[in-house]
């Protein structure tokens, strides 16, 4: 029997699921000692992508809002680091990280306030258009180095006058662990958030917004808060990208990035908070493999999306359990839409 409460929270549903997650976390923590240096960088990229996908999951999986402009806040986080860092010396992470989060969060508040006046497809198109507006600003003006992007001094791991002593070779390792710690903090923070009343209201909006309105919740405010938090977290992800690469360019903001983040979520599964992390790591791995075997990376990406959309509507995690019990008719055949009113509560047997 599915635990309804944890389904609303997208929390791990069983002890084996929790054990698996703990194992994954430990594996990620010791991973850099078992793999070549190049792969540490690759996994760091995957962790950054995981933060982006996880932040978007707050909208897509938790609240039922499909945004196609999420990369705008990711890019704004990265560009904030570029904008506040002077040309001659690096700033501390203690300064750049909150700044990136604040700028992205504020921008999300503004964009959300406008786009959340619409719903469904309109919301999709409006978020896409606003995202492209941000792309346009960075691409067509000299504000952030123009279409070619710009290099920046990477933020340092320092507090006031004290600086973490790092050799050049240790730096990628440091970026890896900072990303991993931030990702874990983000995951646990979201888990707590979704367990609170706020999270329950978001789940209620996803299932039936009219009912939440009828219960007296100002759903617009809850959605706006979720949109702003998601934007803020995406800003943190963007900051980590800028810190790792030491480079920003308008592609970070483009809507293809937003669509890829959606793919990571669908790849990993909509129904869990850990899904986007798995999806992002898998997506990064697929991209790397595609680059190794063919020059046509986009072809592989397109085919992977097509395959996932056609055969794994529940993502990798859902797909694996689906393999054990094949379904007929197959999920891509047209089905009758589910009844708008869910059936009455049946007594549960624990």
């Amino acid at each position: 029997m599915i635990d309804v409460a944890s389904e609303a929270e997208l929390a791990p549903r069983s002890r084996s699921h929790r054990l698996l997650l703990a194992f994954g976390a430990v594996l990620l923590a010791v991973l850099p000692f078992g793999i070549p240096e190049f792969y540490t960088g690759l996994v760091t990229t995957g962790l950054t992508a995981a933060m982006l996908a996880l932040s978007l999951q707050l909208l897509v999986g938790c609240t039922g809002l499909v945004s196609l402009g999420h990369a705008a806040f990711y890019g704004l986080g990265a560009y904030t680091v570029y904008a506040i860092t002077p040309a001659d010396h690096a700033l501390s992470l203690v300064l750049t990280l909150p700044a990136a989060a604040a700028v992205a969060g504020l921008a999300a508040l503004l964009v959300g306030a406008l786009s959340l006046r619409t719903r469904g497809f309109f919301f999709l198109m409006v978020t896409l258009a606003f995202g492209q507006m941000v792309f346009f600003i960075f691409h067509n003006t000299k504000l952030g180095g123009g279409a070619d992007g710009a290099y920046l001094m990477r933020p340092t791991l320092s507090l006031f006058d004290w600086q973490l002593p790092l050799t050049r070779r240790q730096r990628p390792l440091a970026y890896y662990y900072v990303s991993l710690i931030l990702l874990m903090a983000m995951y646990l923070g979201l888990l707590l958030l979704l367990r609170s009343l706020f999270g329950r209201v978001l789940a209620g909006i996803r299932v039936n917004e009219q009912r939440m309105l009828a219960l007296g919740f100002n759903t617009y405010r809850y959605k706006l808060a979720a949109f702003a938090i998601a934007g803020l977290l995406a800003g943190i992800a963007g900051h980590m990208y800028a810190m790792k690469e030491g480079f920003v360019n308008p592609e970070l903001v483009g809507w293809h990035r937003s669509a890829e983040a959606l793919l990571m979520i669908l790849l990993g599964g909509l129904a869990t908070l850990s899904g986007p992390i798995i999806g992002a790591l898998a997506f990064t791995a697929i991209g790397e493999v595609a680059q190794l075997i063919t020059e046509r990376k986009l072809l592989v990406e397109g085919l992977v999306i097509l395959l996932v959309v056609l055969t794994l509507p529940k993502g990798l995690s859902g797909g694996l359990s689906g393999l054990a019990a094949p379904r007929w008719p197959p999920p891509w055949l047209p089905r009758r839409p589910p009844p708008s009113r869910p059936p009455a509560e049946t007594p549960r047997h624990g």
Binding site: V66, L114, S115, F122, L262, L266, L299, I305, P313, P334
Partner: protein, 289 residues
Amino acid sequence: MDFPGLLAQLLNGLQYGLLLFLIASGLTLIFGVMGVINLAHGSMFMIGAYVAYLVTARWGSLWLALPAAALGGLLVGAALEAGLFRHFYAREHLDQVLLTFALILLFEELRSFLVGNDFHSVPIPALLDFSVPITPHFAYSAYRFAVIAICLLLAAFLFLWIERTRMGAIIRAAAEKPEMVDVLGIDARRVHLTVFAVGTALALIAGALAAPLYSVYPNMGDGVLIISFVVVVIGGLGSVSGAFWSALILGLVDTLGAAYAPRVAGLAVYVLMAAVLLWRPTGLFGRRA
């Protein structure tokens, strides 16, 4: 601000707006009747432009390219509807978004595989390669006049189809209350196939018409897709007349902006969209929610 210059910009804006209408009308129809979002609609514009390039390069005539684009559009649209989209009408928005995103990537790869990644220019047909004198000091490209005329003609046919025919009545009904169309026992599948094919053909024709004006290049569908979304948002969901007026407004705003305030012009359309969302979230011509 001199008068001939302004007139030229107004005509340019009109011509751009009408092209936008051809693209956005297909988007809004597909979307209004089937409730499916088609991100690959911009790729259809790109394919139309490449059809124009290939046909003109091979047989030297844009006049051959236009019917080829129209026919090809009908076929591609019908194939996509019957092969893929039909199975996605009842699926989540997220699935539709990703399906059509995948199509964009695949169409771009196909284009790169078949034609390559170079920029190409398409010559204006010799018959129209002259300027029409309007005042003693001002002449305007005959080809752009022809584009305006063709777009207006297609728009008129589209309106007649939707307002005066039985199929059009079903389309309007389906955009308004899809359940009622089902209840009345109308075969919705034939309507869906036709709407999708016609919408796709309009985008290909727009691409073919635009090819001599804006040249042909990779990812040219992307910008067009975004601006068509803005057209649909401002015009209102599923409203073809709304798409017409908002396409004209956006065409003029964008063109005049680029001519007289080039630094901020790219932002003008988004500011307009934000203003419309604040004022009427369902679009200028959409029904009030």
